[in-house]
Symmetry: C2
Subunit: 198 residues, 2 copies
Amino acid sequence: MADMARKQGSHSDITGPRVQDTALRLIAQHGFAAVSMRQIAAEVGLQAGALYNYTPDKQSLLFDLMRSHMADLLDALAATDLQGDALARLEGFTQFHIRFHLPRSDQVFVSYMELRNLSPENFAAIEAMRRQYEDALEDILRAGEAEGVFAVPDTRVATMALIAMLTGLSHWYREDGRLAMPTIEAIYWDLVRKSVTT
Amino acid sequence: MADMARKQGSHSDITGPRVQDTALRLIAQHGFAAVSMRQIAAEVGLQAGALYNYTPDKQSLLFDLMRSHMADLLDALAATDLQGDALARLEGFTQFHIRFHLPRSDQVFVSYMELRNLSPENFAAIEAMRRQYEDALEDILRAGEAEGVFAVPDTRVATMALIAMLTGLSHWYREDGRLAMPTIEAIYWDLVRKSVTT
DNA sequence: CATTTAACTGAACAAGTGTTCATTTGAAAA
DNA sequence: TTTTCAAATGAACACTTGTTCAGTTAAATG
């Protein structure tokens, strides 16, 4: 308890998140390999050595960013309990995906672009989480098939196709763009629904 | 003419393409910033300095890879004259996109992932070519609207969505995968067609 | 044969890389 | 006030980076 009071008063619980935020932003902007520890440190207002109070190495910094993004995603999905028939659940999933990803463009960018900069073990961990998310969508597609309201020749391929379509939105969406978010949401739901229904 | 004979006999017209091929493969694998000129040179069987007989600098090497990929794409599209009604042209475009991109996964990877490593001018050039390609699809969607056979609330958004879906295929397709290419082509055409038709 | 010259080497340059660690700092605890 | 210790410094480590260029090599030319 004594040291908790100490820690609250200290400022490492501010610096830690600042390191993560800065790293995320810089990596999204320039790519993992192109960003140096000294650049990150400079933006936070530290010397490079001080970063090693917050991460064991550069690789772990990247992995933590990606893992926490995927964990947030899976947690948020689990918290959104989709119910009703397959069509309703597909609509819920589509809405969830868009609303979760759009305000997190840096995380999406990094999580998709920097997979090849992960060590094999770290890659496997992220890949497993991604697979879990994909499976949630595939379950809905299979349920729709069973209900007879969906007609997809291959649920796995359709899953990959839909996720690519939805995630692509994060790559071009701009908050100050031509269309408001609800409008875009409606357009994407229209495309998704029609593409899988009978 | 005399120096043409000289050049044909020399071996720089073999080394040049080897440099490009090697650079493409390594950059697709590890990312532009993570690949050094010495790595590329070593794989070709040269010293790093010799690369500068084939490119003025590293940035131009990347740009040339992306530009020639986009030029090939636009040339191939122009050579494929899509005719008939909008639905037929959309089917032709879908087929074209898949058949062009699937055998070029390294090019696709590099052209989508390394945009942020281009200098501003080079980025603008590639972006313009990409836009031109997107416009070809949007034209088809607009024609379909006019014909009354397509129902897309926004042709621009639908264009981005469809291209993201189709290009996503290149990211997971494996030649030795579960499904043969014609099967996958049929599945994607099914999704595309249904998503935009009335 | 001698000459020419494209192709390449190998060393050098200045700058930057991730990471470690003895040392300093400054605020909370006693 | 003195003690304590998390947090940060700043220098150092060994190595890599893109790029240049005087010099070497070897094959085509005359």
